[in-house]
Symmetry: D2
Subunit: 181 residues, 4 copies
């Protein structure tokens, strides 16, 4: 049997580690709630405002599906305008979704007087992206004063099934003294 | 509250999805056990033999800690010979451990007449690697006929606590018609 | 003085290695022209046709600027619709451009009965993308039977100056027996 | 003919851009010497001291081959102790070499009261690493106040020929107020 990865989502998983570990084993993963607590009370509105100001999100038809401390989900309904040559959703569009999901996941934890910048990311494409809806999720793995590390996943939904179509690993920078506007 | 990532370990998580989902929600993640079933009965001995033939593993003092279908763990006890200039375990040593853990995680699923090759990987270093033991784990996210995608994690263990010190995302190639020897 | 990197563009540079090495030193880099020779006479029309069928390229306003064996350039004139929240070109749009430039650079060398698939890429963002024109270029570093490795660069042009705004490293897969249509 | 990549080595190339452009075309790439000027007069000794304190470098048998502003080369003579299961140099050893070469390339440009930290890197393995000598080189693409971006290459040398065996893209952090000791 494959082992249960104890902290695949990093800090995120640790929130749950003391509550339910799937294999029932005692966990040495101390929950570190404080580290995923937003540092700015207006974190949610700030993300929604920032998202709304991104022309590229409107252009491709992306919608902010969910936002929580250390987490963000962005969804898109496939259409020909976002396709590549075989009719699937273009890898660059998937990248746009998941880069933004990771960036906003990190931004939920940043201090008031700051903005978020993607330093770099790496994306593996696993399966053709098609279906009723594409959902990109970002998870903070490691928050930090200057940098934050996230992971991302993109799923394609069809008939109640989800297929993992891409995974990402990303480095963000906390831009202090620079507001998002 | 941060969302529970439904498939952070990809296929691996899916093995457990029907048994226990941590948030208790109904899961549309159909378990796909078949996809993580080894294609070669001698998968375990093959990994152990291959590991034993790697001079670099002996040199750095790495030990094969665990191997299961789609999973591998490699451990190392820190010592000055594997350090960088501040005395922590060198990032290159961590890379050697986790690249190999990912590679062998994939190799457990490969057909008989094949070998494994790392095409590429990306590694984020999250915290200084120090402690009683360093454990690198590889998880298969997406097995395939030609390529396999894995994720990796490196933890430092100290006094019963684990600290996530590095995360990896990796692409492997199935080298058919080429044995591991 | 910084050293002259002898093969920064990989195979591509080797085309020129016997002609002019910038530091005048004798070069051991044997030119390997054959390896960057297109395997399909219709390589150029195939790239142009494929590009034209990508809905996402039309949506974001990208144009195929140049294509040569092992090379492709895609350009875009910035406008509000492709911006992020600060008004610069969105990182996801840059990714779309340079992922495609790398993919088509590789595709120029693929056999007739094949298509191109991005396995993965990694993108570093170096500077805000703004100016009169954004140009993404892809260069084949290592062609292969099953995989091809490319590098990419994105420059922002303004007043006759070019600023390097992003660099990429990418893995492509040769999809044999699958045409691009 | 493949196009000449105008700035593949980033800032490094720009040192030479005004002197010789291989295609003879007028260049808009203004040389930016200042940006690759070391900020600390003792840059060279600092790199050599730091290298000498890395236990892992001695263990694997690596030697500092060259160091210049924005550049570093580290060499290794292959032996069974650094091999993987097929007898080639282990990918993790190549990673150790090129991660360090990139890190020290960056460190040549850092201020006096600072240290260097690898945030992340991505490595593509292109060919089996074997031969008389392995040389890993790091080149600074983009220096910065907080982060520096580098590229790396690993060549295998045999009989006067060089084969490109790996390429890397890396993010470094300037650790201010923390000396390398």
């Amino acid at each position: 049997m494959q082992k249960d990865p104890p902290s695949v989502a990093g800090e995120g998983n640790r929130l749950h580690a003391d509550v339910t570990r799937r294999d029932g084993a005692p966990s040495s993963l101390a929950p570190r709630r404080a580290s995923l607590a937003p540092a700015f009370a207006g974190w949610q509105a700030r993300v929604r405002d920032s998202f709304a100001r991104q022309g590229a999100m409107a252009l491709i038809g992306a919608a902010l599906a969910d936002v929580a401390p250390g987490y963000c989900a962005i969804a898109l309904v496939p259409r020909p305008e976002v396709s590549q040559q075989h009719g699937y959703v273009h890898a660059g569009i998937l990248a746009t979704l998941v880069d933004s999901a990771g960036g906003y996941a990190g931004f939920t934890l940043f201090p008031e007087d700051s903005s978020v910048l993607t330093v770099e990311y790496k994306l593996n494409l696993l399966a053709p992206a098609q279906g009723e809806r594409i959902v990109a999720e970002g998870f903070v793995v490691k928050p930090g004063r200057t940098l934050a590390i996230t992971r991302g996943e993109v799923h394609a939904e069809q008939g109640g099934q989800r297929t993992l179509v891409a995974i990402m690993q990303q480095t963000l920078m906390v831009m202090r003294g620079k507001t998002d506007r």
